[in-house]
Amino acid sequence: MMTQLPALQVVIPLLASLFCAFMKRGTVAWALSLVASWAVLVVSILILQQVLESGPISYAMGGWEPPFGIEYYVDKLNAFVLLLVSGVGAIIMPFAKRSVGTEIHSTRQPYFYTMYLLCLCGLLGIAITGDAFNIFVFLEVSSLATYAMVAMGKDKRALLAAFQYLIIGTIGATFYVIGTGLLYTVTGSLNLVDIAGQLDSVNNTRALVTSLAFLTVGISLKLALFPLHVWLPNAYAYAPSFATVFLAATATKVAIYLLIRFFFSVFGAGLVFQSLPVSEILLILSVVAMFGASIVAIFQEDIKRMLAYSSVAQIGYITLGIALANSNGLSGGIVHIFNHAIMKAAFFLALGAVFYRIGSVHIDHLAGIGRRMPITMMGFVIAGMSIVGVPGTVGFISKWYLAAGAFENGQWWLVFAIMISSLLAVIYVGRVVEVAWFRDPSGATLEARDPPPAMLLPILIFCAASIYFGIDTTLTAGIASQAAELLLGGLR
């Protein structure tokens, strides 16, 4: 049983999704998804424990020995990502029942849960597998499920958002396959560990650089790096609330993991950061994202869309950490993957609860909502403090590491850039807080009250986490810096 854990991680949601599709009632499908999500969480905790105790796990899928068969390879970095994805999936499930119940037609609810589980399966698969082509398959499993989930949004513009995402996402995935194909032609292998080992003896650097370029652009489309982010605001704004929570917290994070994996474990920091200007390009794009997207966020009327732009800005912080390519910077980037996931989950859950009560998340309709739904909006405020980076919250920890990384590289101006862009976050969060707490309720808001405990609990858990991990960082920053050391240790 324990030796089969890596396979179970992917197989459980895959099988559960199949059963979900045949359920007649949404509640039954929900219960099944709930059980599957928690089972997956237990599996990922066991895997993390095993990795921390006895080092990386290598699992030969179907008994075919790597590098010929598909290998599932788990080290500290992806055990951490697995825990994040499955943890978010499990905690938000209680929220789903009512949120999905009101936003999606009852005949379609089982299909929605099917898509959710497929997406979960794909994301976990990307994180766990050590085979480049297998990553592509899981990438498409999760992406296709995501397009379908986005298209199920109530607003008819959700269809346009889904189509736009489908086109861009498919181009991204195809770029990824081209990159993998070029890598395969120069090394003759698809196993990431094996490729990394063979790259030393590869002389054809032109094919290698082309492959790196395709992989970088393809994955950057998926993770919504600044100029390639156009799909994200629409997809997040029009998707059903529950889908937005899940996607915002996990989907882009897994793509970032993939970028880190290719940069540091496969190509090696030596090729990527020393002989090519990747670091400079990434640094500029990250800083532009931090400022540009934050400024755009300030002017949004739809709060979901505002937070979507904020996500683009926050992804900028993570890629900044990657671009710094030193121990503190990379730790900051990795820990921000986790921290950003929990604060965005709290944000979008709070908005989902508001939408459940008043049927809108437009800023004009939110006047006085803080007085009617105090606990929900308190959650919003705590997440807001975290995104600004107030000491004692997780946002501060990430920014601390990033600033330390910038100092280490002697780029002190970056420290100011991080601080000033945080102030932009104060503006867009502050706008919502002002409207929600300091104006008199009117219209639908008058009748609103905090949602039932099943919806409230996930919000409170994420808020508690964003304070707890802001004070005790042994789990998050501890693992992140160990993973960073490991990634940079392989500097070739």
Partner: protein
């Protein structure tokens, strides 16, 4: 002459690149959503060729072990591309389904007209 030989000798790569670029161009340049999907399919198909052509070894036979032969073609790219074709079909099907729904809701699948109706997107 050397250059000409290099160009002709790599004719399979040239076809691949031509399909790749024209597919991507159609996706970007056309406003009709069905045409966009056609472009996307061409783009994906070009990648199949990119994988398949290095799989053929000159003078190699089908990869079935036989004492009479020593040189075999590589079967792995074919297996990979079989998977990629399935993914491509899935994407195309979902894309077309979305186009049908968009046509039902908005009455058009031309992006110019859709953008005219909606400034939010």
């Amino acid at each position: 002459m050397q250059i000409l030989e290099t160009i002709v000798g790599h004719y399979n790569q040239w076809i691949t690149v031509f399909l790749m670029v024209s597919g991507l161009y159609i996706v970007i340049a056309r406003g009709n959503m069905v045409k966009k999907l056609v472009g996307l399919s061409i783009f994906q198909t070009s990648v199949y060729l990119l994988y398949l052509s290095p799989g053929k070894i000159l003078g190699g036979t089908a990869p079935i072990i036989d004492p009479n032969y020593t040189v075999y073609s590589n079967p792995l790219p074919h297996v990979l591309i079989l998977t990629a074709i399935v993914v491509g079909v899935g994407t195309l099907a979902l894309g077309l389904a979305l186009v049908v729904r968009i046509n039902e809701e908005f009455g058009t699948i031309e992006e110019d007209e859709l953008f005219g109706k909606d400034d939010d997107i």
